[in-house]
């Protein structure tokens, strides 16, 4: 079963470019909201750890309890680790933001898939699903990196809602000269039979197609 991106599945979009722009904004907004939640959690933790250091210091100054230097060192390291985590999220957001810089360029799909899965990590955690990307060699293609991530994101969102196990596994590769991304772990038939309009629009613009492999509980995005 497959859905080609050039197939008409809905008569709704009369102004496809406007719809694509709105879809892109919504996608961009959702990703930045995810990252801002991550920042908030890191900042909240750093604030409590810093507050704890202040509390322990104040108690030592008042002679209530001597300062445990080993404890202070541990808390300082905890803070540094939180900063590193936040910095990682910041780098990913920056990389994602730059994916709109040019409409098409040579990209490693493995890197893009890795990026988008990290950007939606919190959504996956809240859904109780673990997303893993296998160890894949580089798959370089000329593509629109933003649209490509958008298509993967829509499929992953659907998979998070319909996951049949607590794990989704991704693979990126090339078969018969075509690059592909596969997501395994959910019954994807409905996604391919009745895709959302936004997925159809993004696929059409990207020039890709979706295929569901019912027996394997897998969907493949082919470019």
């Amino acid at each position: 079963m497959s859905l080609r991106s050039d197939e008409e599945v809905s008569p709704e979009y009369q102004d496809e470019d406007s719809a694509l722009t709105l879809d892109a904004l919504a996608f961009f907004g959702r990703i930045t909201a995810n990252v801002s939640h991550e920042f908030k959690n890191r900042l909240a933790t750093i604030k409590e750890k810093a507050g704890l250091l202040a509390d322990l210091t104040a108690m030592a100054e008042k002679g209530i309890r001597p300062l445990d230097l080993a404890r202070v060192n541990t808390i300082a390291k905890d803070i540094a680790r939180q900063v590193e985590t936040a910095d990682g999220a910041c780098l990913r957001l920056n990389r994602f933001a730059h994916s709109v810089d040019v409409p098409e360029r040579r990209e490693d799909l493995v890197e893009l898939v890795s990026l988008i899965t990290r950007l939606i990590e919190r959504q996956a955690v809240v859904a109780g699903v673990e997303i893993t990307l296998g160890s894949c060699p580089k798959v370089e293609v000329e593509t629109n990196p933003f649209l490509f991530q958008q298509v993967v994101y829509y499929c992953l969102l659907w998979a998070l809602d319909h996951a049949q196990t607590r794990a989704l596994s991704l693979d990126v590769g090339r078969s018969e000269e075509q690059a592909f991304v596969s997501i395994k772990g959910a019954a994807f038939d409905e996604l391919v039979q009745r895709p959302s309009n936004r997925l159809v629009r993004a696929l059409r613009k990207l020039g890709g197609r979706l295929e569901a492999n019912t027996g394997e509980k897998e969907v493949t995005i082919r470019l």
Binding site: K40, N41, E48, V125
Partner: protein, 117 residues
């Protein structure tokens, strides 16, 4: 005052619990709604401070389930991003207050005192 903090961020919840303990508040913690329910079944708490979004049960679902076990417990919801709509939803679910992360510890204590009365 016996408080249960519920958040899946281990480092956040343990640091906050320790800071409350240093201020004379008996603070315990749980990393999920399921763990919170186990604790509430085993011991009495005056109030729970819950993260709005957690893996498994959300903060609101935890409030609904705890209320069935301990109808007198009070609740404060904590979130990264507040909205008027979320505030209304939380209050409708039985939360006394809806606070933003990062927390101001003195403000949290004030709200806890106000909620418990």
């Amino acid at each position: 005052m016996r408080i249960l903090l519920v958040d899946d961020e281990l480092e956040l919840v343990t640091a906050l619990a320790e800071r409350l303990v240093l201020r004379g508040i008996d603070a315990d913690w749980a990393l999920s709604g399921e763990q919170a329910l186990e604790k509430v079944r085993a011991a009495e708490y005056d109030a729970a401070v819950l993260d709005y979004k957690m893996p498994g049960m959300s903060g609101l679902e935890v409030i609904r389930k705890i209320t069935l076990i301990r109808p007198d417990m009070k609740f404060i919801i904590v979130t990264g991003h507040a909205s008027e709509q979320d505030d209304r939803v939380c209050r409708d679910a039985g939360a006394c207050f809806y606070l933003m992360k990062p927390l101001k510890i003195e403000a949290l204590i004030e709200r806890l005192k106000e909620a418990i009365g």
